[in-house]
């Protein structure tokens, strides 16, 4: 018998092993849910799969009685839009700041202390300020997401820019490149794949800020809905919504990874 650290399974079996915990969790849930529903058919805590799918279908394919909107899709769209704009802005600002501070000593001297200070602020604590200054509309929610993840992206890109071997920057200069050309042709192309990684890592934080902002002041959105129906203990809505958010997060991550591979064939996996 090999040592446990040397023991591995063939790929098919590895996939089975990976699925096992999911299956166990689902079985466990079904057993617990059935047990509770058998005692009290009106139990709200662990709804059956049928009541969850009923609720989801109602949210997704029946217009709301109050507004006539398809709530599930309205919620999904407004959340994705906020997250997309917030994260997109953060990526753009973070990339610019990261390259500037990573490549230009004077910009580094100017912005680095500010960046460090801002990154230490717990951003959720800024939310009331944002609501007061920017109002309760889209702007404050998007600003929260952007403020929350820009420092992370900027510092990550700054670190990555410094990791690019000095030899390359010197070489570019001996080939006659000026500062703008070094940034555009040597640094930027090598940092874009790093930016995609950085965005992937910060999406989780982005969701966190999004749901927090929506929970507090919003009129639609996935986070808003979850916190709204909490008042009625509507677990049959909350659970599918959480699963849907998880699925969206997974798909975004997958798309970004694919995009990175497609756009940057020279990039070696880390």
């Amino acid at each position: 018998m090999k040592r446990l650290v040397n023991l591995d399974a063939p790929p098919a079996m590895r996939r089975m092993l990976g699925l096992l915990p999911f299956v166990l969790l689902i079985v466990l849930y079904v057993l617990a849910s059935d047990a509770r529903l058998a005692i009290n058919p009106a139990d709200k805590l662990l709804p059956s799969f049928s009541s969850m799918s009923d609720a989801l279908l109602r949210m997704a394919f029946e217009p709301s009685k109050r507004s006539g909107e398809y709530l599930f899709w309205t919620d999904t769209w407004s959340s994705i839009r906020r997250l997309g704009i917030g994260v997109g802005l953060a990526a753009l600002i973070g990339l610019s700041l990261g390259i500037a501070t990573g490549a230009i000593p004077l910009a580094n001297a100017l912005f680095s202390p500010l960046l460090t200070a801002v990154s230490l602020i717990p951003c959720l604590a800024l939310l009331p300020i944002l609501f007061i200054v920017l109002g309760l509309g889209e702007l404050s929610k998007i600003t929260l997401i952007t403020l929350g993840i820009t420092p992370f992206i900027a510092r990550d890109i700054q670190r990555r820019a410094r990791e690019i071997p000095a030899e390359q920057l010197i070489k570019a200069q001996t080939l006659g490149a000026n500062t703008a050309q070094i940034i555009c042709r040597v640094l930027l192309p090598q940092l874009l794949p790093k930016l995609i990684n950085s965005v992937r890592l910060s999406l989780g934080t982005g969701w966190l800020f999004l749901i927090a902002a929506e929970a507090i002041a919003s009129t639609e959105g996935l986070g808003y809905r979850i916190f709204l129906v909490r008042r009625y203990l509507s677990m049959e809505v909350i659970i599918p919504y959480v699963l849907w958010i998880t699925l969206l997060a997974f798909v975004f991550d997958l798309l970004l990874r694919r995009l990175g591979k497609r756009l940057f064939p020279w990039e070696l996996p880390e």
């Binding site: 030899e167 010197i170 070489k171 200069q173 001996t174 006659g176 050309q181 020279w266």
Partner: protein, 264 residues
């Protein structure tokens, strides 16, 4: 062309180089040898303009060497000398865009075609025609160094600085690279400075050999004195083999230099 007068270099209280007085004429091929940490790479970096001079003068055509790298001084490092995100061809084409008055140095239309033609010819010259659409990580170490040399030459430098360019290559490939460098040096009328660990390489290539070593030692302050050029030898008029290096090896052995070991 290049003239060092009383050149000193120290990092804090560590003196690395001292009393360097040399004159180099256009077209010389100088190899720099010496123990690790003896300052030969530091000297190269001063020529490159990335290492400030502590004392003395280092002039190019009677004027102080510019304090930053420029297109007149090309460089090939042991590694990281090419851009990993560009194909071999793009690496060489990029040179034509650098140095233009533009933000991106990207080329379009006829200038792009001309640059591609010139780059293709340059790649053919160094034997990389078949690899022109491959990325550096897909090339062998020797091919990457050929690419680095081709790229450096596209900028038409007067001086080519080589910092242990073949240190990581197999002996067979190294011999091919030596031949290539000699040919290109003649074709382009370059002045070459090459740092090497390998004394044989130092003798075999080039017209002039510099040995860097410390002549003064203070046992209580190892950093007090730096290395200087202890031997400045005219070497082999190619292609005849170089003079017998044995006497020099003996001299080096007494200083415990690892260059002497490389000879034996």
């Amino acid at each position: 062309m290049i003239r060092a007068q009383g050149l000193w270099k120290s990092f804090g209280d560590q003196t690395v180089l001292e009393r360097i007085n040399v004159t180099v004429e256009e077209g010389e091929f100088i190899t720099l040898v010496g123990t690790s940490g003896c300052g030969k790479t530091t000297f190269l970096r001063m020529l490159l303009g990335v290492e400030p001079i502590s004392k003395g003068k280092l002039d190019l055509d009677g004027r102080a060497i510019p304090a930053e790298p420029g297109a007149d001084r090309g460089i090939v490092f042991q590694q990281y000398s090419v851009f990993p995100h560009m194909t071999a061809l793009a690496n060489v084409v990029s040179v034509a865009g650098f140095g233009r008055r533009s933000m991106t140095g990207l080329l379009f239309g006829s200038s792009r075609r001309e640059a591609t033609e010139a780059a293709t010819a340059m790649l053919a010259r160094v034997g990389l025609t078949d690899a022109s659409h491959r990325y550096p990580h897909e090339l062998s170490g020797g091919m990457r160094q050929r690419l680095a040399i081709a790229q450096a030459l596209m900028a038409r430098p007067r001086i080519l600085l080589l910092d242990e360019p073949f240190g990581a290559l197999d002996p067979g490939i190294r011999a091919d690279m030596h031949a290539l460098v000699i040919e290109l040096w003649r074709e382009h009328g370059l002045t070459i400075f090459m740092v090497t660990h390998d004394l044989k390489e130092g003798f075999h290539l080039g017209t002039r050999l510099w040995v860097f070593d410390k002549t003064r030692h203070d046992p209580h302050a190892p950093g007090a004195y730096g290395a200087t050029i202890t031997y400045d030898l005219p070497v082999g008029s190619r292609p005849t083999p170089v003079a017998d290096p044995a006497p020099l090896a003996g001299a080096l052995a007494s200083t415990g230099s690892d260059a002497a070991i490389a000879l034996s």
